[in-house]
C-alpha cells in the first residue's frame, strides 16, 4: 500500500491567510522529499524539496518542514493567493539498490476563497 499519506484531503482558506498542508510517511529509510502542485488539466509542478538531513527549507512564500521523529512533512504557504488553488502532493524517495523510486501520496485539494 501507499507509504505516503495526508492528514486532510481538502483545505479551504481565505486569501491572504497562511496555509499548512500535512503529510505523513512511514518509510524511515526515505532520504528525500518533495512537494508538487497540480492544477486541473496539468502535470505536477515542482514546488520545493528537502533532504532527510535537513529540518526546514524555505522558498518563495513556501516553507517545508520535516520531522523525522514522527515521520511528518508539512508545506506552509504564506499569504495564500487564489492562484495557489490546486491539489498538492507530497512524495518520498525510497533509495536503495540501483533505483531511486519517488512515491506520491494521495493529495490535498487547497481552495483559496477571495
Amino acid at each position: 500500500g501507499e507509504s505516503v499519506g495526508l492528514h486532510l484531503p481538502t483545505l479551504s482558506v481565505q486569501e491572504g491567510d497562511n496555509s499548512i498542508i500535512n503529510c505523513a510517511y512511514s518509510n524511515s529509510a526515505s532520504d528525500y522529499f518533495i512537494w508538487y502542485k497540480q492544477e486541473s488539466g496539468k502535470g505536477p509542478q515542482f514546488i520545493i524539496d528537502i533532504r532527510s538531513n535537513m529540518d526546514k527549507r524555505q522558498g518563495q512564500r513556501v516553507t517545508v518542514l520535516l520531522n523525522k521523529t514522527v515521520k511528518h512533512l508539512s508545506l506552509q504557504i504564506a499569504a495564500t493567493q487564489p492562484g495557489d488553488s490546486a491539489v498538492y502532493f507530497c512524495a518520498e524517495r525510497q533509495s536503495g539498490g540501483s533505483n531511486y523510486k519517488l512515491t506520491f501520496g494521495k493529495g490535498t485539494l487547497l481552495t483559496v476563497n477571495p
Binding site: F89, L102, G107
Partner: protein, 113 residues
Amino acid sequence: EAGVAQSPRYKIIEKRQSVAFWCNPISGHATLYWYQQILGQGPKLLIQFQNNGVVDDSQLPKDRFSAERLKGVDSTLKIQPAKLEDSAVYLCASSLDRGEKLFFGSGTQLSVL
C-alpha cells in the same frame, strides 16, 4: 528551457484496442519516468529508465503495457489490449538525478470505452 513534451493530449479508444503515447524529455535528463494517475489519486510509477535501460518496472502490467526508450532520449508507452481500468492520465517526467526534482509533462488523458 523547453519542458517535457507529450503527445497526444487526449485519446479515446474502445476496450481491447491498442494505444501509444510519446514523450520527449528535457534535454540532458538521463532519467525518464512514466506515471499513471487515476482520477483523484496521486501519480503511480509504471516504469523508470536510466538512459535507455530500465531500472524499475515493478508496477508495470507487463501482459499489456510496454515501454521503450531508444537512444536514451524519446520514449513510447504502449497499451495492448486496453481495458476499462486503464482510463487515466499518463504522465511522463524526466530528471537530471535519479528520483530528484522530476519535471512533468502535461500528460495524456486516456479514456477507454
